[in-house]
Symmetry: C2
Subunit: 198 residues, 2 copies
C-alpha cells in the first residue's frame, strides 16, 4: 500500500493527502515527529537526504518533495486527468509547481512558519512580498476558474494549501476575491479533505 511520511500541519504534506483522496488511492500515513528532529536523522535521511517531509513510498518507488509526489501520483493513478500529456499544457502546469516551491514557499508559507513555528523572518518584507504574489495570482484567476487547462490540475493543488492557510501567517485574502472563489471551488471537488486551518 502507498505509504506517506507525513506531518499533519504541513501544507506540503496536506497537498499530497488531498490528491490521494481525490484519486481515491488507499494509503497509510506515517507521522514523522518534526519536533524531535526525526526528519534530520537516520533512518529518515535515507528516504530524503534533504531531511524534509513529505516522502512517498509506493512499492520500490520512493519520491521526495511534495510537487514531485503530485507529479508521480497524478500520472501513476490519474493518467492525464490531473497532469496533461501535451507539451504546452505540461509546461503550463509545471510553472505553478515552481510557483508553489518558490514564490509561495518563500512568502505566505514563510509567514505561517513564523507565526506557527517561530521561524525568524523579516516580517514586513515577507508580508509585502506575500501580497505581491497573491495579487499576481488573483489577477491570473480574474479570467479563469482554474490556474491552467480550464479544469482542476495539480497546479491548483500545489498552490492552494499555503494560500488557503494565509490567515495562519496573519495575511488577509480580503483584497483577492478571485483567490477566495478559487479556494471555494477546490473545496467542492468530490473527495476533498481539509486540514487544520482549512
Amino acid at each position: 500500500m502507498v505509504k506517506l511520511y507525513d506531518f499533519l500541519l504541513s501544507g506540503n504534506c496536506y497537498k499530497v493527502r488531498l490528491l490521494l483522496s481525490l484519486l481515491g488511492v488507499e494509503h497509510e500515513l506515517v507521522a514523522v515527529d518534526l519536533k524531535s528532529g526525526e526528519h534530520k536523522k537516520p533512518p529518515f535521511l535515507a528516504l530524503n537526504a534533504f531531511g524534509q517531509v513529505p516522502v512517498l513510498v509506493d512499492g520500490d518507488v520512493v519520491i521526495r518533495d511534495s510537487q514531485a509526489i503530485l507529479v508521480y501520483l497524478a500520472r501513476r493513478y490519474g493518467g492525464s486527468d490531473w497532469l496533461p500529456e501535451d507539451a504546452a499544457l505540461l509546461g503550463k502546469v509545471s510553472q505553478w509547481l515552481s510557483t508553489a516551491s518558490k514564490e509561495i514557499a518563500n512568502t505566505v508559507a514563510t509567514a505561517r512558519l513564523h507565526y506557527l513555528f517561530g521561524a525568524s523572518i523579516d516580517v514586513a518584507a515577507i508580508e509585502k512580498q506575500s501580497y505581491t504574489v497573491l495579487k499576481a495570482i488573483d489577477e491570473h484567476l480574474a479570467t479563469r476558474q482554474w490556474l491552467e487547462c480550464d479544469r482542476p490540475t495539480i497546479a491548483d493543488l500545489a498552490c492552494f494549501p499555503y494560500i488557503g492557510l494565509a490567515a495562519d501567517g496573519k495575511l488577509s485574502l480580503d483584497a483577492y476575491p478571485n483567490i477566495v472563489a478559487w479556494i471555494d471551488r477546490i473545496k467542492q471537488l468530490p473527495g476533498y479533505v481539509g486540514m487544520p486551518g482549512l
Copy 2:
C-alpha cells in the same frame, strides 16, 4: 522562431539556453535589462506577472520559470529523451526540478547573488546550508553518473548551473568529487555551451 527573454549572467536563463543548444532548437535571445528593472515593469510583466527571467515564447505558447521551460522544451522538442514518460521516472526527475528551485536557489544561488549582485544575506548561514545541500547531492552522485535514469535528463540541467557557478558565491567544490565529475560529464555532452563562470 522560439524566443527566449534572457539575461546572460542568470543561471536560470543559461539552463534554458543549454537545453535549446543540446536539442538543436533554433532560437532568438531577447536580452532583458535587469539593471534598469525592465523585468518589473510593463510590457515584461504581461509575459510574467512574477517579474522574472527567463520567459520562453514559442508561437502562442508563453512559459515562465526555468524549470517549467525545461519541461516544455524537453517534451516538445525531445520527446522522452530528456524527460521520461513513465510515472516513476517522471516523478524522480521532478524531484530535482524542485531541488533546483528550492534547495539550490535558496543556498548556492543565493550566495552568488550576494557576491555578484549585492543581495543582502546572512553569509554564514547560507554558506552552511549550501554545503549541506552540496554534500547531499555529492552523496547521491557517489553511485550514479547522472541524477536519475542512468542518462542525462533535465534533472541534471536544472541543478547543474548554480552548482557549477559555486565559485561565484565563494563556495568550494573541492570536498565534492562526485559533483565535480558530474559537471565534467555535462560539459562533454554534444551541443554543450557554457556561460560566464562556466
